[in-house]
Symmetry: C2
Subunit: 144 residues, 2 copies
Amino acid sequence: MGESPRFVDGYLLALLARASHAASAGFHAQLKARGVAVPVWRVLATLEGAAQGVTVGELAETCLMQQPTMSKLLDRMAADGLVARQRQGRMMRIRLTPPGAALAAELVAEARAHEAALLARHAGAAPALKALLRDIAGPSSEAG
Amino acid sequence: MGESPRFVDGYLLALLARASHAASAGFHAQLKARGVAVPVWRVLATLEGAAQGVTVGELAETCLMQQPTMSKLLDRMAADGLVARQRQGRMMRIRLTPPGAALAAELVAEARAHEAALLARHAGAAPALKALLRDIAGPSSEAG
DNA sequence: GGCCAACATATGACTTTTCATATGTCACGG
DNA sequence: CCGTGACATATGAAAAGTCATATGTTGGCC
C-alpha cells in the first residue's frame, strides 16, 4: 500500500536494456564456458556467411561498438587466428579464417538453438516482437 | 534476388540489443552533452526517490553491472559528491546527496520527456511492448 | 564468549574500452 | 602529376571494467 514504484521499473529504455540483458544471459554463459567473449562472438556472427568480407566500420556499427574498439578487437582476433585483414582501397576487408569460420558456424548453431528455446517460452509473440524491435531500432536495420 | 539475409539481422538477441542501443542513442547523447556517463545516469535513476537508500548489490543488479564495477563507480560518484555511503550492518546503504538528487531529478525529467517523444512515434504499441519486455526480462522485474 | 561458515563490499593485477588524434588512401581541382 | 580535403583505419595515453580474492560483518553453534 502506498508504495511508490521505482522510475526505472517503468522506463522504456531500462526495460529494453533489461530485456536484452536477461534474454542474452543464458547464451552469454554458454559463450563464457567456451572461453569466447561476447564482442568476439558478435564479430564472428556478423562475419558468418559473409564470404567477401566486411569492413571495420560496418563491423563496428553492426556490433554496436566504436571504431577504435573494433580495430583493437580485430587485432586480438587476428592474433588468435580467427580473422584475416586484407586491404582493399582505403578500407580493410575482414574475413573469417577457416578456424574462425568453423567456430562461427558452431556458435551460430548454438545461438539458433538458444533462440528457438527462448521463443518457445514466449510462443506466438515472436513475429510481433521482432517487428516492434525493428521499428524501434530504426532505419539502420532496413538497409540491405 | 537470391540475397542471403545476414544471420544477425533476424537473430532475436541482436534485435533486442540493437533496439535498446538505438532507442537509447538520443538520450545518451543528451547525457554526454551534460558530461554525465551512462553508468552514472543509471545509478542516479535508480537512487532517485529512494530516500532510505539502496545497497551496492541492488544497484549493481538494477544497473546491469557487476558488483566490483559498481563499487568503483560509487567511489567516483562519491568523490564527485553525487552519492554518500553509509554502513548499515554488513551492507552499505547508498543515497543521493542533495546535489546528486538535484541532478537526478533533472535527468529523470529529461528522460521522461525523451521517452514520451519516443512513444509518440510508436503510438499505441507502448503497453504491449512493455509487457513483452517485462516478460522477457523475467522474474527479476517482478520483485517489488 | 569465541570460532566458523555465509554474506556484502572492497581491492589489486590485468584486460578492454575510450577519446583524441595520427596515419594511410582515394577523389578531385589546378 | 601534385596538393587538399574527405574518408577509413590505427594508435597512444588515460579511464573503466573484469576476475579473483581480500576484508569486514553477522549469526549460529559449541
